[in-house]
Symmetry: D2
Subunit: 334 residues, 4 copies
């Protein structure tokens, strides 16, 4: 039975703890946090768990096989590296680390030691995204991926809205669309006294003429969580605000023919508007599926669906977007 | 009684004709189009109207005081200039012309002759935008203007989606927000065999740290027509797809305080979520209000709400966006 | 070529006129109305049409083959009967007449003379209802039909909301569901100074344990036009307020098994929640399809889809509902 | 500090337990249920709580001041009466009891002993209903109350959909509208093998010409939870499915004038369509407010907002509705 320790018991840690605690295939043995109040809460939430304020002790605990990291972004690399070096499997909160080179170091360390390194891209484990993945082959050639994730709130102090919200949608892009990101252009603004951008727009050039665009915002009067994936044959819309029919697949499209008969240029456009299908989605908590996946990947030494490479791909775009933002929207090649 | 001639009887011309025909303050005397079938339709639609295939005759007709131009964009400048030189008032379809310099020439010509030059930015005359204009002062400092105008269809052959759809929202931005546009960054793509971009994202730097963003698309599975205008005190959402409650005003916002007491940096964020008000909107056709406004501006020699300067402001951004698109999203300063 | 006369040029008459006028298979020769202003409008709308204030002349005009009746309900019977007796085919506005016996007289007269008698149940000719009819066989056994048609406005002076709004949905029920109506219970109220009920609820017992319910209102703050048809295998929702995806078919249901093993009663409920499909609907004006259907039925002597029997079925329920309303919701057997 | 025992740990019991457990003003000491599995869960959920399979022991426990009853409806009366007779305060799940006379007995017993008897009409404690109560005075004279509560699922075995779902909306009606219910007419049907009605429509005659209508269903393809309260001056819509803007207040209405000048009857209708306001609602769990209210009522000997009389009013309508259903929609006077 896998023995698990969680480091970080702030906003997300309790959700991880609840799911690891109730999973019969592992044992949640330890929770670490620097804050005493949080440790008390951890002790109350998980009967019998060992709590500690020492990250070092946690990472090196003898009776722990896997470390789950739910701390602020800037600490991910240091803790994950220490855990890997102590021969623990690692599941790290998104984004994987604060830089591409840190991600690469972690990947190399995990590979060298044959350890599982997984990134907590929770959305990949939702029924909606799993269903999108199955349907992606029906879309034909990818035209574009367009995402909006906006809300009023939680302004962060040390990371911009790009590092906070975009990882969700970038991870979904990377999972659904197996195309390289060639370039990133990002614009944004700091409002209401914020020192980091609280609204940003990312434009990505993908291979094959496709593009992706991300609108992330902490300052929207209405909540939006919507992804459109459009292909040459079909288009999908995933609207996570909806309480039902979150995913819709449109059998719609356009095709254009150009001809030049008798010396005159003509363009003929055919629109196709077919049925829309909203697939039934099972009602399962994503985090539960993710915990199960993590345990199975460790057990069978399989590559996680959200492995280090996926985490790296996301951070690569985040890093480029930040550089673009700092240079007033300059195009950054990858 | 003002005597009016319409040039161009394709998609939009019949709407203009219907509204000028039924207005008691003017007389629709002439309709010109190169296509004979359209002229037949014009003659059937407007009893007693004179029809002609000669734009030249129309522009120079002695018994006409004002020329309404609803022809393809590339012909706007030539026809409008000829009409002004023949001492006619001019109402020209959006966008005003295909270049900034053309717009400037038209403005100068109209001014020299004391003629009314108005651009058909129809949306400015909707009850929704008129109400937004009244409410704009309550928003406080502008944070951002965000617009999405997307649909499946009408691919155009010779102009991109930027020149086709963005003028609507750029005109609304210019009307509501009296801030200069300092720079434009645009990205987009050509899909489905299109030779011009059919999806594009425009990012505008406005004075005072505010920004604007426009998403225009001919290739969306679902129709969207939504504008968010967010200020330091209130935020407005105009959703033109809704059949009722198109406009919503949110008494919501965020304010952030930073302090550095006892050597440690702290950030305090206050969220305010107040009531939402959806103002009742009168049910009047925008084009009818616009025709009335055009006639009154001529009669009283008043500056139209959508005058040449407004048309120029829109074209200035379109031109910059096109340049940015051609240079892979390079930032273009204005 | 069939020669057509329209009697009544108030709210609905102009729509009928436009569609008959532009159909190539008939000739709109005559429009009658008691109001001179309306006759002037008719003359302007339909070039060359003959107008008259004499219903008698219209009904007996020698050069007319079919009479379209768009007058107040209480006059339907008299005019329709006169038209049939003058050997004209008849299309009469809904509801067909003010009583069951009047409907029966009209049906008998039309049959005796071999004339086409059709009722203008326009909704039956919408793409949505046509598609519902095709899909109805997939529903399994009918469980219930539930409809809400509510709005703020058009209070009528002489007929209640039941006679005004319920005919639409009753006609759809009759068309989709081939079950007899066994009993009607209706409740309602008169508000805001109205002397006839402006809100009403109709409950119908259908054969086979199925039921139907109708909520009609002139006094709702929000507009609703929604029909649910639920069967043992599938369920359909038609929401006519939606601008897209008006029709949705749910592959969902419930089945219950009772058993009594080992002396204890048990009930097992199985819920099935499958995909939802929203069929693409062609974008055709219902009235245009209806005019075409009327002409073809006359030409080929076919039974109209909304024939006298359909009109009678609707009036039978209306009459029973009115009786129930007058008797405080007493159940009225049919 | 008030000492609390909960009887019944099925669907709703754990929610009650969680809220009583975490409230600092009371002590959750005991949980009773006949099912051992549930008792184990209770023991795990509430550290230190005493669990028992004996309802009798629970009701008579010496160290308990208040009993919370979350058992099946048919047992409410017996347990509540025993608890009152053991001098405990009582909070009983809705509906209060299975008959009017049982409710009356409980009320009398509580009064005689000076004990607090409260019914768990949770919705009354939501921010939405609290806000509706405050706004109710602005509505003018009540015209109607219309409610729809429909879903696919939870078919019950021993009670009909009326006893299961209608108490929520009947309690809201009773709380918002201080008008007597004069008569009830109910229709419904049993589908899918159910032996009790799974869909029902209740029509209530209220004093002063107002009416109320309730649509409850376990067999709807889409979830609905919507209440409209319409008055002579304003109308409110509470849509509990919405994730935001659940409550909307419309400044809309109709007024009708009749006159009889110069011998001819005329009816003039004025429609007023004003702004819509959606009040901001605090984000507080209703059950938490309810627990607080229960404790305060006991402490200060105040009448609960959902007291026995409220519970009785609801059961009175339920009983009448059931009788009406059994008699095919016969009108039942109260």
């Amino acid at each position: 039975m896998l023995r698990v320790g969680i480091i970080g018991y702030g906003y997300w840690g309790p959700n991880l703890a609840r799911n690891f605690h109730r999973h019969p295939g592992c044992q949640l043995k330890l929770i670490a946090d620097l804050d005493l109040g949080r440790l008390q809460k951890a002790a109350a939430d998980v009967p019998g768990v060992h709590v500690t304020a020492s990250v070092n002790d946690a990472v090196n605990a003898r009776d722990i096989d896997a470390i789950i990291i739910a701390t602020p972004i800037r600490t991910h690399f240091r803790i994950a590296l220490a855990a890997l070096k102590a021969d623990k499997h690692v599941l790290v909160e998104k984004p994987m680390a604060a830089s591409v080179s840190d991600c690469e170091t972690l990947i190399a360390e995990a590979e060298r030691r044959g350890l599982t390194l997984m990134v907590d891209h929770t959305f990949l484990f939702t029924e909606a995204v799993q269903t999108m993945k199955k349907l992606a082959v029906e879309l034909g050639d990818l035209y574009y991926f367009d995402s909006v994730r906006a809300n009023l709130g939680l302004f962060q102090r040390d990371v911009s809205v790009v590092w906070d919200l975009a990882p969700h949608d970038l991870a979904i892009l990377h999972y659904l669309v197996e195309l390289p990101v060639d370039a990133v252009t990002a614009t944004g603004a700091c409002h209401a006294g914020s020192r980091v951008p609280n609204i940003a727009y990312l434009s990505l050039e993908l291979g094959g003429g496709a593009m992706a665009h991300f609108h992330v915002s902490w300052l929207s009067p209405v909540k939006s969580r919507r992804i459109v994936v459009a292909g040459s044959r079909k288009m999908m819309v995933f609207d996570d605000i909806e309480t039902s029919e979150k995913l819709k697949v449109y059998d719609s499209g356009v095709s254009i023919k150009h001809d030049n008969e008798d010396g005159e240029y003509r363009m003929q456009v055919d629109y196709r508007t077919g049925d829309m299908v909203s697939p039934a989605l099972a009602n399962r908590e994503a985090l539960q599926s993710e915990v199960e996946h993590f345990l199975r990947c460790i057990d069978r030494q399989e590559k996680p669906l959200s492995d280090g490479q996926g985490g790296l791909a996301v951070v690569r775009v985040l890093e480029a977007a930040q550089r673009s933002l700092e240079r007033n929207g300059e195009r950054v090649l990858l």
